[in-house]
Symmetry: C2
Subunit: 352 residues, 2 copies
């Protein structure tokens, strides 16, 4: 199957213009992309073509009704030059969960897995080997069909694009626990990787940035009482020696890093709890010194330690720990991802 | 200003291919469109060009992060052939309210009002004269800037496209009062005309359609206790002789038809109440016979009478009234829109 995917090769490669030692996140794209079109009730056989612009009618529903979803994963290169993915089937399953909620037709598994494998084999020289770097993989789907009637489109496009990338964040972040704005509704689309979920976060995040916070920690939209997740990360809280994260629900993305971290933590003998975490509990723990760590977990940043959080105009600093859970868990997950350690969970997927 | 907008004329017109007696809603587009690009911190001077496809990088943020908003209004032709808009400044103000919430740069007023006026003058032959028909006007804005980082784009596109259209709905509709899914969060983007708000409604609306309902009536996401609005309409309920609609808030779109209907109803001497309407109140009123009417109100459908609603697996039929508020109010508002009656509120805006 992987070998059956037709390839139209780019005439020239851009790879020699790229400074692999100074990669930003997701701003440089490789020479090729994978495409499939949904038309007349089915997804066309995927093909690989030169990375190129997309041409759409002004009445395409993507411009009007927000029918768009995406995924994000990474390809890692080990010391021997082999290329690996981390739990790609989880991304595939989540893509289709998102598709269903956004009334976008689900994609066949082979379009995703075989298509991505074929694309990565072709682009393997683009997978960086520098520490912390990887090839970010962005599968996405959107409504290309037309019409100003607010109803699902009859045509869609699926694309996988690749971006060699450095680390997402650098350093520790200061976050704001949100008291006014929300990311997702009960019964809404928060659990889907729908484009609209991200656009809605930008303005509150800008307001937080003006006050000196790099990220917002979203809370439930009823009473802003419970901690949910960050912009593109799930959130973990360590109180004394227990690592706690909120259960996923229809407002929270079921992060692959989150569930991997939970498995690794258990394997490390760390006490874990998956339960609602109230803002009050976190503030009280910060006050009485039992709050040891908070960190975000997501594909882009992997594990992102939180240095301080703001709530109701007060900033709470977190302690600097010598051997934090964050650094221990980050090391274990990235060692698996980059094939530097045993993969006892069976998470790695060899591309080439 | 209106005359200063440069026009690149289409080589040929498509107007002779159009059957103006059988227009669907928003599927035929005129020969030209207005465009302006946000670049280097400002919106370029608008220009009119032939209606044509848009070309975008695969990494354009519209495909990934849902930064898109739109407006919807109509141009009406009167018996003398003059063309009118209805309260266009309200659409302009709402566009910028939406822009702000979605972290999209606000548009200068003249780009909208003068741009639209110039475009409509050029396309005036496209405004249909058949009863109930009009030229649907679709201003929209989206992120054209690129990057896989989840942050606002640095480039945007504003377009106004026009679609000669027949009536949106025909006949009375059966609606489902939603008990599980939601349209908007407290502190979210429900009050904005953001693309993502619509995509999120498609799946629940499909589920309702499978049960025989054409529309969903959204309720609050906390307890599904209060009636909010329909897919692209605000909702009015008549109990005995009082006309009631929910107050707008950050979950509900501030509909221009809604507020015009409220003003007209008051002018007609109808008792109006703007207050929360619980589902229980509506069900009880249906049971005891005091529920006389329910209707949706929005630009596309104007006033759309509801024949029946479903709630918790029970259908409630509404009575057929000889002279309903819905028909009286629809007549008054459309008489103003089509310049068939005095415009005591000063709502009409003459284009040509
Ligand atoms: C809203 C949100 N939460 C959490 C995550 C983390 O998910 P994952 O670990 O699968 O990358 C993401 C995606 O990166 C996200 O967009
Ligand atoms: C969600 C929603 N509610 C209500 C309305 C009605 O607003 P207006 O009367 O301004 O068209 C619309 C737009 O048409 C809408 O999209």
């Amino acid at each position: 199957m992987v070998n059956n995917i037709p390839v139209e090769k780019a005439k020239t490669s851009k790879i020699h213009n790229v400074d692999f030692d100074n990669l930003a996140f997701g701003t440089t794209y490789t020479d090729h992309m994978l495409v499939s079109d949904f038309n007349d009730g089915e997804w066309s056989a995927p093909k690989i073509i030169p990375y190129q612009p997309v041409t759409l009618e002004p009445s395409s529903k993507i411009f009007h009704y927000g029918q768009s979803i995406f995924e994000g994963l990474k390809a890692y290169k080990d010391e021997q030059g082999s290329v690996w993915l981390f739990r790609p089937m989880e991304n595939f399953k989540r893509l289709n969960k998102s598709a269903k909620r956004l009334a976008i037709p689900e994609l066949p598994e082979s379009h995703f897995i075989d298509g991505l494998t074929a694309l990565l084999r072709l682009e393997q020289d683009w997978v960086p080997q520098n520490p912390g770097s990887s090839l970010y993989v962005r599968p996405f789907m959107f409504a290309s069909g037309t019409g100003f009637h607010a109803s699902p489109a009859d045509k869609y496009k699926f694309i996988i694009a690749l971006a060699p990338s450095g680390a997402y964040f650098s350093g520790k972040v200061k976050v704001l626990i949100e008291e006014k704005y929300s990311r997702a509704a009960n019964g809404g689309v928060g659990y889907a990787k729908a484009g609209g979920n991200y656009a809605g976060q930008f303005y509150p995040t800008q307001l937080a940035a003006e006050k000196g916070y790099q990220q917002v920690i979203w809370t439930d939209d009823n009473n802003h009482e419970f901690i949910e997740e960050a912009g593109a990360m799930n959130v973990f809280v360590r109180i004394n020696d227990t690592l706690i994260t909120a259960p996923t629900n229809d407002r929270i993305l079921d992060g692959i890093t989150r569930k991997s971290i939970l498995d690794i933590a258990k394997d490390e003998g760390i006490d874990t709890e998956v339960r609602k975490v109230s803002v009050k509990e976190v503030v009280d723990a910060a006050k009485n010194g039992s709050l040891k760590e908070m960190f975000g977990a997501g594909t882009a940043a992997v594990v992102s330690p939180i240095a301080a959080f703001g709530y109701k105009d007060v900033d709470y600093e977190l302690p600097e720990l010598g051997d934090s859970y964050a650094s221990k868990l980050k090391k274990r997950i990235t060692d698996i991802q980059y094939n530097r350690a045993e993969d006892k969970f069976g998470w790695r997927y060899k591309v080439v």
